[in-house]
Symmetry: C2
Subunit: 145 residues, 2 copies
DNA sequence: CTGCAACCTGAAGTTCGGTTGATGTCAAGC
DNA sequence: GCTTGACATCAACCGAACTTCAGGTTGCAG
């Protein structure tokens, strides 16, 4: 059992943020007789997961929904869980693809030195990212929501 | 030359957001005699880049700073550009690694069906992510900032 | 040349993810 | 047994990234 201060120190997340997560339903705590929060060790793992997921662009609401079907949900319903995980997976795959594309674009730009604008993929409007069909919406819409 | 409505339709970004980006210095426009914005085709590419970068967790300020040394900056100073790109690259590499870790955790959780909590890496506090040393801060601190 | 959709500006409002007080209680060391 | 630092709640505030609104202008189709 950890106090909020201990959980904060070990997770690197401020107590105020932990209380906020609790209000949103991302984590839970037991209370002492004096109404102070006590966390299980597993919460540490959960908080780490939340931070990582938040950092890669998922909203706390999405994370909460995902976590809801994890640990202490009474009936995980394997099918529900798999559907959920599949959704996350494709979301993550999209996000990874996006990042790699961005990184590759940057890398090729370093390659060209960005002194010759004609050959720089980042400034050249004729490359594979620009205006294929109606625009890059296809590319962007796939990842969010 | 695109009107703001055209740029919006083709980029999938609302006109209000485009004006906002302009105020922050992420994009530029010429004006007609009647003060309406006109954008170059290249702006489409720039907006796509902004959206991708924003989506992977970079602030508009960071993106603006990165874009400042691109296209129409007078003196790109190859060294400056490379330093900047290196910073972005490591940032992106971190983010990609984080995402892949998250995805792999999820995948292994699908594997275990999350019905046997004892073997589920997401709920088991003894795995490689949880509390090695003082906590997962090491893992998290590497990526932001 | 007129009407109407698309555009302009500036200020205020919204949502998200928290932080910062103000005010009061708890618990652990001396 | 008391003091002091950690904890509690609640409301207000914050910055980022936009959106909405009010009130006025532009430009093109008919």
């Amino acid at each position: 059992m950890l106090t909020i201060g201990e959980l904060s120190a070990r997770s690197g997340v401020a107590p105020s943020a932990l209380r906020y997560y609790e209000r949103l339903g991302l984590i839970q705590s037991r209370r002492t007789s004096g109404n102070q929060r006590r966390y299980e060790q597993a919460t540490l793992r959960r908080v780490a997961f939340i931070r990582i997921a938040a950092q890669v662009g998922l909203s706390l609401e999405e994370i909460r929904d995902a976590l809801r079907s994890l640990p202490d949900a009474r009936t995980p319903t394997r099918a529900d869980w798999e559907r959920l995980s599949r959704r996350w997976r494709s979301r993550l795959d999209n996000q990874i693809a996006l990042l790699q594309r961005l990184r590759d674009d940057l890398t090729s730009c370093i390659g060209c030195g960005c002194l010759s604008l004609k050959t720089c993929r980042l400034s050249n409007p004729g490359d594979r990212l620009a205006a294929e069909g109606p625009g890059p919406r296809r590319l962007l819409s796939a990842a969010r929501r």
